[in-house]
């Protein structure tokens, strides 16, 4: 049984069928790619899994547990973390604080312990700080630890978002176009970083991106979405040579 199972998920926004009977499985330890032209429904599928959008039909199960109806934060606590295509950092918080928030979300101490500065609160604060710093070090972000996240370049912001998601200690990481807005060198670094993250944090990944080169290089298996339907899946080289996929991408080029 897969770690994540999506069965016949459908979403309609007004007159637009964003997703039509989408089904796929994701196994533990995989890096699964999801590609497709603009408007194919990739982000909608992500939103269905993380809870931002509820599908009209179908089921989504994570480790055998049905996710539909669960609020976003409950899904996060089950071990589902995500990043956003259009960055959503806590821009007024420093980089280090951004990484502490997911650790805070799991901390048991309440407001009272904080207000009274009980020893437990100080201990947990210290521990959250240490963990955030260790993660920043791993991601090479130590230098900007105390910079407000909103002041960073897009490339660094993407990396902070990745760090914030990892601080949740997720089992499954959903990456929504992590390569968007990155230059060639940053993309290459990302392609090298993602497998390292999988090794170190033992995390499964679902990756959406336009950048075919990045997806081809990183993913074990790829699904191709077009107009809300899965039109193909397979290993990277299979998908690359699939005429349906080529047509979907070329079609988009011609319209654009």
């Amino acid at each position: 049984m897969g770690m994540l199972e999506v069965k016949e998920a459908s979403v309609r926004f007004g007159g637009v069928q964003a997703l039509q009977d989408v089904s796929f499985e994701l196994n533990r330890g995989e890096i699964l790619g999801l590609i497709g032209p603009n408007g194919a429904g990739k982000t909608t599928l992500f939103n269905c899994i993380s809870g931002v959008v509820e599908p009209d039909r179908g089921r989504i199960a994570f480790e055998g547990k049905e996710l539909r109806g669960l609020p976003i934060h409950r899904r996060a606590r089950l071990g589902l973390a995500r990043t956003f295509q259009n960055l959503r950092l806590f821009s007024s918080l420093t980089v280090r604080e951004n990484l502490m928030v997911p650790i805070d979300a799991f901390a048991l101490r309440g407001m009272l312990a904080d207000a009274l500065r009980l020893p437990r609160a100080r201990f947990e604060e210290h521990r959250a700080d240490e963990r955030a710093r260790a993660m920043l070090h791993f991601l090479g972000l130590s230098e900007v630890a105390d910079t407000p996240a909103g002041d960073l370049s897009v490339g660094l912001q993407r990396r902070v978002e990745l760090g914030r998601a990892l601080c949740l200690e997720p089992k499954l990481l959903l990456l929504d176009e992590p390569g968007a807005g990155l230059d060639a060198r940053e993309t290459a670094e990302l392609a090298e970083l993602l497998p390292r993250i999988r090794e170190r944090f033992n995390v499964t990944m679902l990756l959406v991106d336009h950048d075919m080169a990045l997806v081809m290089r990183v993913c074990d298996w790829i699904y191709v979405l077009d107009f809300g339907r899965i039109i193909a899946d397979g290993r990277p080289e299979e998908v690359r040579d699939n005429p349906l996929v080529i047509r979907a991408y070329l079609g988009e080029e011609l319209i654009a």
Partner: protein, 329 residues
Amino acid sequence: MRRTAVAILVLIAVVVPAALSSFERILAAQAAIAGLIVLSLVVLTGFVGQVSFCQYSFAAIGAFSVGSLVAGHHWNFWAALPVGVLAAAVVGVLVGIPALRLSGLFLAILTVAVALLFDRYVFASNTFNFFSGGITPWRPPRPTLFGLHLTGAYTFYLFVLGVFLLATLLVWNLRTAKAGRVLRAIRDSEVAASTVGLDVTAWKLAAFGLSAALAGLAGGLQAVSINSVSAASYDFQHSLQVAAIAIVWGVGAVASAGFGGAFLVYGPEVLRHTPLSNQWFPAIVGLALIVQLVFTPDGIVVDAERRFRHLVPVSEPRTAPAEQPVGVG
């Protein structure tokens, strides 16, 4: 640096009223109480970015509870005050529930509606009589603290100042720890906050509850401060004015509570001694609001903190255990 500034300000707050007349000492206590209301806005607006124009309605719940229980039912003040604070917190959470789906302008309108509802119905004379059991307003006497009668103007002022400073310290602790971080995160992006596992609803309601509790505390103290509870002291006008003052000083800074409270009470007093009368105070607050929104959109205290930040030494960041880092892109 920050500690020195706070110590000096507290010293001024303690010493100066000792040299003032009895009437001015009463005003000083009023300023500390108004400071608590500004503090309640620092929690709600400054931490979570929720607007409120009904803080004095929450204060009224504290005042009416203390007035009713102490003067009407002969409770001990120390038993009545927590009841008032708790009741205000509960109402705050209730107001927070519809507010969860609203923000900005629509939330502002909701809180105006709450304030007007309190003005028109809860404080209306017939409701008032129902609670008090008569037509005479409540006159709760000053409490005693550890056998000490808080009847003297200066003694009572020191007591209220102590409560204010304690509340400010608690809010400061919250702000600099997990709660402050979490609430600011929610203000920055609610979706992102929930995807990292935060129960945004619960945190927002907690902020509403805490804010209303602080306002309720102010109301309870106000009741015994002036030995009287009257609806007119807690109407929408007051809520509107304190919101404007909180914004002028800067809801992002805890210190605004002290400055804002003093300004709210002493502003009209200073005007009284000028050719202008204290009738002009609301106009001056309005003018200050316009000037501030143009020149220091975050408020006076926040702006000043930013200007003087470079004077504060920043502690060296600790280094994490050695490990191969990824190049900074």
